[in-house]
């Protein structure tokens, strides 16, 4: 394997792994903030117990998101130094601003929230978790503006003297048309992830009729959020498809495994191509649907892989501009399929819970629990699709992945890196999953545990002698 392959494997492994935790962080932080708000507004202890229960699961997940994020920040320089040299002027600013605006807010106010239960007035404590939730979304905004620039570079020019990209319009980078659809798509998917997670865990407890007063409201909130967010995912996904068809026709063609340009184009339900990947052998299609999805017209033209290849050769010179079509085609289907199932599950769940009902059929709960995994699969498939679909480019139409890798780093060093990170991540995955299961099954604290202890006496100095509300 050469260094490009090793660096790509590391980026793929570490990024997909990191993004198991990120959407759950984004979704759950807002849900936990919502529950704490409900407690403050109604005074009902069940909401406080729910806040503490989901907050604990949120923190187990958050820790992993933080530590795996450190690698994301620095592997650009370590494995992709030529990329970093070329794009730093444009790409570095969103990363630095993300750190300054988002990471400080998240980490500081989360520390206050965890340890501040008895140190802060209730409203300030609530504000802390809302700030964490806003911080996660700010973070997503800036990092997605950087990624969107790789998908569709705008607001820059290439300096003739240095051969490097130079930022000319930061506002254009932030309001990139790709970004304006990728950001809501990612955020709504994160809410689906948080919602389905909450729904799945609640289903486990409700199947056993445990702590119904905590988990029934949790489940209804989770399903409502998932249902609304699922619609958002579908709408923004559709918009993204149209943007992608225009900006990256190769990705669109690969997503549908269309080899020759079609007008009108059918939506592929199953396509099997030749092994060399330039011809279709067998396919089942819905007529005209793809035309509508990618252009908005039943009669629109959708370019085929072979035609885009010819066009890109004419534009960028000889070379292979096709991504690995089977990975693109199947990950696209996985992403869309999972999105449709979660939308259905959430709507069906809301129907089954209507007007105080609590279904007795155990399969309802089993399906609910199993659905917990779906958004994670969909998120991963979506990112594998969008990143592999951009290949062979690291910055679409501007810089190739093969030219992005660090020239001074040996394959041995990179192997040490990818193997040690993967091994460590695997061990941490087992530990994290074990803790998640333990604390998910343990259920929420009892009423007595969450209510503040009665004051011992009137001496204010005694306060400092009291046990901490929370300690590691």
């Amino acid at each position: 394997m050469d260094t490009v392959d090793i660096a790509r494997w590391q980026f793929g492994i570490t990024t997909v792994y990191h993004f198991l935790f990120v959407p759950l962080t984004i979704g759950l932080s807002a849900l936990v903030a919502g529950l704490e708000t409900a407690w403050l507004r109604t005074g009902r202890t069940a909401y406080l117990r729910a806040t503490k229960f989901w907050g604990k699961l949120f923190l187990i997940n958050f820790a992993m998101g933080i530590v795996t994020g450190i690698v994301q920040e620095f592997q650009f320089g370590m494995n992709w130094s030529d990329y970093s040299r070329f794009v730093g002027d444009v790409f570095g600013a969103p990363l630095a601003i993300e750190g300054l605006l988002a990471f400080f807010v998240e980490s500081t106010f989360l520390g206050l929230w965890i340890f501040g239960w008895d140190r802060l007035p209730k409203k300030i404590h609530l504000a802390c978790i809302w700030l964490v939730a806003i911080g996660t979304q700010l973070s997503a905004f800036f990092i997605l503006s950087a990624n969107s620039w790789m998908q569709h570079p705008v607001g820059y020019r290439v300096d003739e003297e240095t051969g490097r990209a130079v930022l000319t319009d930061f506002w254009a980078v932030l309001t990139n048309s790709t970004h304006l659809v990728a950001f809501p798509h990612t955020i709504t998917a994160a809410f689906v992830t948080g919602g389905m997670f909450m729904a799945g865990v609640s289903a486990w407890h409700l199947a056993r009729r445990k702590n119904v007063e905590v988990f029934r409201p949790s489940l209804r909130l989770a399903l409502a959020v998932t249902a609304v967010a699922s619609i958002g995912v579908a709408v923004t996904g559709d918009l993204q498809g149209k943007v992608m068809a225009e900006q990256q026709p190769m990705k669109m063609a690969a997503a549908e495994a269309i080899y020759e340009t079609e007008r009108p184009a059918g939506l592929s339900l199953l396509t099997i191509g030749t092994l060399d990947g330039d011809e279709e052998l067998f396919g089942i299609k819905l007529p005209r649907v793809l035309s509508f999805l990618s252009t908005g017209s039943l009669d629109g033209e959708v370019e085929g892989i072979n035609d885009v290849q010819a066009a890109e050769e004419a534009r960028y010179g000889p070379g292979d501009y096709r991504p690995f079509v089977p990975a693109i085609y199947w990950n696209f289907r996985l992403m869309v399929g999972v999105g449709m199932i979660t939308a259905f599950v959430s709507l069906a769940g809301l129907w089954l819970l209507r007007r105080g009902r609590l279904p007795s059929n155990p399969w309802v709960y089993r399906i609910g629990m199993a659905s917990l995994t779906l958004p994670f699969i969909g998120n991963s498939a979506g990112w594998i699709f969008t990143e592999m679909g951009r290949q062979p480019w690291s910055v679409y139409g501007v810089m190739k992945t093969s030219a992005s890798v660090s020239p001074s780093v040996t394959a041995t060093s990179m192997l040490i890196s990818v193997i040690s990170l993967t091994a460590l991540y695997a061990v941490l995955a087992v530990i994290e999953a074990g803790l998640m299961l333990k604390y998910a099954k343990a259920g929420p604290p009892s009423e007595d545990e969450v209510l503040p202890p009665p004051p011992d006496d009137d001496d204010p100095d005694r306060d400092s002698e009291r046990s901490l509300a929370f300690a590691y």
Binding site: K52, K56, I60, A63, M64, V67, I70, E73, F74, F76, M78, N79, S81, S84, G88, D89, V90, F91, G92, A93, L95, A96, I97, E98, G99, L100, L101, F103, S107, T108, L110, G111, L112, I114, F115, G116, W117, L167, F170, S406, S408, I416, S417, S420, L421, L428, I431, L435, Y439, P444, P445, E449, V450, E465, S467, L468, A469, F470, A471, Y472
Partner: protein, 338 residues
Amino acid sequence: MELTTVWFIAIAFLWTSYFFLEGFDFGVGMLLPVLGRGNVERRVVINTIGPVWDANEVWFIVAGAAIFAAFPEWYATLFSGFYLPLLAILLALIVRGVAFEYRGKRDDARWRSRWDKAIFWGSLVPAFLWGVVFANIVRGVPLDADHEFAGTLGDLFSPYALLGGLTTMILFVLHGAVFLALKTSGDIRERARLVAGIAAIGAVAAGGSFLLITQVEHGEPVTWLTAAGAAAGLVLAAVAIRRGREGWAFIGTGAAIVLAVATLFVALFPDVLPSTLVEAHSLTTDNASSSPYTLKIMTWTAAVFTPIVLVYQGWTYWVFRKRIGTDQIPRPKNEPVR
């Protein structure tokens, strides 16, 4: 002042803040097995930094990202050139961060003892390697005409770099010991003062020789002042800790760290990563920097948001200003669920 100079100073500020803040976190982590006898005492030690360690670590993320944004060539060469030491730092920080969060999540002595080891090594490795990295930045490394690192792993571990590593390690142990003396009560506080007294001697010896060599080889006239100030900070810390004035001792170790880092950055300027092969291959604030437009955006953003960060992060320390003792650690059975 040119924006490239502004950003050189900004990055020096970010690293200084990082070493000041995470310096005591690293020290606390390295002292965990020394000062914490038994689980309750270890929990006291860890909880002195519980609410703040994560935000302290963000200074590293932001410092690194600011280098990427303001000096992309520096970022590219530094992180690809110092590949394996930086990988070790990343691995250590991953293990350490998870350890803080997960240590108390199972009531099992073996589970805790493994995470304690993770906290110790996860603090020691970066505390040492940051010194190695910064010694190499100041002294320079072999860079070719494309500004690519042209040396070997062995080049990064020269005696001077090892002395740099030893300096940051002992300095952070001292800073952590003083911090613990300031933030705990009872036996741990007494032991922390004792350890601080010993560590101060080591810090003066290692740090003094490291700064002296740095001054002689790479210094400017003004760095005589900063280096001497750093030494004075250490002396202040040593004297104050013996007299039980922990606040003054912390000011002393803090000043030592700030002035030591300042010495390194002033000695480095206007280079950001000198080449030991040919001077023309060196990366400087000039040839490594982003465009003026990018630097302008970054300057405005940093000027508005850095003070806000400092205010709310400072407020956190105010909220959690009280000392912690063993009697405040909640007993496992009625430990409130967070």
